[in-house]
């Protein structure tokens, strides 16, 4: 077992932010989140070839507008290629045995390929790449603080139905804040237990209980450390008179500008195009 396997904390890229100062970076985070949601939903529903190719082209354009190298998006796609291929094979082999539709192209023993199953494979691959690209652009152009502020501000209307918006945003902030801390704790734990002779995945492979207990030396301390940190934080917050539900003043106020209105309008139009336009293929 070489050392690099333990280096968790240094390989986690969540909340990666690449400031380039582009137009996309300068957009109001609320607008970005809202547009992202609208576009993802539209992409998830759209199931035509042409629609998805247009959506992919749009996602690629976003990289250029936000001046983020497209390699960042591609690095998210690369590890997925084997999965896409396996899924494609599975879908081609099994899907249309049950659901019939489209014209039969190949029918040879096990294999039954129809125009519908091919469409499904290609469209879901395209959809996957689009959404990877879109979420890369969002997280690379928006810092995690901006994202949480944006979520909080977007959800504010929900206050009227008694949804605890501020508390919700605080939960998200705490979660993101503690990921690197726990990653380091976990790395330390893995090293410490390895120093005591821990091994993982020993025992016969069907012995589920044994194999699960093999991870106890890491999982149990991880939860313990998490709980200890939680208790400390509760104490610190209450010592500073934090009370859930109280009105709080905000020091980051977002004010939408013309470019924000244009951006969101454009995204809505684009999403409607994907959803409503009768693409021939």
């Amino acid at each position: 077992m070489a050392g690099f396997e333990f280096e968790l904390s240094r390989n986690i890229t969540i909340g990666q932010y690449l400031p380039t100062g582009s137009l996309v970076h300068r957009l109001d985070p609320r607008v970005k989140l809202l547009s992202f949601t609208i576009l993802v939903i539209a992409m998830a529903i759209c199931d035509t070839y042409v629609g998805n190719i247009i959506a992919l082209a749009f996602a690629i354009c976003l990289f250029y507008i936000s001046r983020i190298p497209i390699s960042y998006g591609l690095s998210g796609v690369k590890p997925a290629i084997p999965f896409i291929l396996i899924l494609a094979v599975l879908q081609l082999m099994f899907y249309n045995k049950v659901a019939s539709g489209g014209t039969v192209l190949v029918d040879h023993g096990f294999i039954l390929i129809t125009s519908d199953s091919i469409r499904l494979v290609i469209v879901s691959a395209l959809r996957f790449i689009e959404i990877i690209f879109l979420s890369s652009v969002l997280t690379l152009s928006t810092s995690t603080t901006q994202i949480t502020h944006g979520i909080e501000s977007l959800l504010r209307p929900l206050k009227y139905v008694k949804f605890p918006v501020h508390e919700f945003a605080l939960i998200i902030t705490i979660a993101i804040r503690f990921v690197p801390t726990f990653a380091m704790e976990m790395e330390k734990m893995m090293k410490a237990q390895a120093s005591r002779g821990a091994e993982f995945g020993t025992g016969a492979w069907w012995r589920i209980i044994q194999r699960t207990k093999d991870v106890f030396p890491i999982i149990i301390p991880l939860f313990n450390v998490a709980m200890a940190r939680a208790e400390d934080l509760v104490l610190a917050m209450e010592a500073r008179c934090y009370t859930p539900g109280n009105e709080r003043s905000i020091y980051t106020k977002y004010k939408a500008q013309n470019k924000d209105y244009i951006a969101i309008l454009f995204c809505i139009l684009f999403a409607s195009l994907l959803l409503l336009f009768p693409f021939p293929y």
């Binding site: 240094r10 005591r196 002779g197 313990n224």
Partner: protein, 290 residues
Amino acid sequence: MSESAILEVNNLYHTYMEKTPLEYKALAGINLQVKKGECVAVIGHTGSGKSTLIQHFNGLMRPQRGEVLVDGQNLSDPKLDVKALRRKVGLVFQNPEDQIFEKLIGDDIAYGPLKMGLPLKEVRDRVKWAMELVGLSFEELKDRVTYALSGGQKRKVALAGVLALKPEILVLDEPTAGLDPFSRQELLDRIALLNKQEKMTVIFVSHNMEEVAYLAQRIYVLADGKNLIDGTPREIFGNTEILRRHHIAAPQTVEILAHLKQRGYSVDLKAFERESAAKEIVSILQPFRR
């Protein structure tokens, strides 16, 4: 290679995230030799590479450049038996009590020996031996739950968990950090006992100079991933010049002697041990007595 060295580090380098913008050189050519039965302290500021260095001792990290030899065995050897190495070199991390995961104290300490596949009788003997070495009563505590223990006791349990592997070399990262003064002194005495009575080679990292003065026979001072100086406590603490230049605190005894010397009293700066320092102070008081 010197004949009696049980652990030897030659020109060791380690760089985190090599060839990325976040590249960080943790070790930049470290050399270190520890003889069998010695008690050696490694000191230096945060970020001086101490923790990275000690993780090389039991193969958690492999040398990128340079070499690490344990008992004559080169740790860069691809055929290295890592498990055997980790039994030989017991590594105790900072705040080791976090790693306790079993409900019962006896089970947690037995984890390592059980993983070695030893017969239950042998495991039991080892747990008993380890618990008594750290000052925990085997009969009384083996069936108790771990979470009911105090911080100092938990740390002893964690230490016993490593000792139960019967390592020849014991490596500790800040063994007393966060303990109360009483538990701290008790733990130090236990470590001293391991070194003297059980003839275990001890290497420890510390920020606390009183602790270093109390335990260490030899000291390595690291700075920026390189050796700064090394030598006996007398040599290191006597060298107030270099300590001050690198903002490394000396034990209080040395500080007092240094102040006295500054005011023109003739005292031996190397007399850092409490008794010797006391003698030095008494010696300058002699003229007043008459």
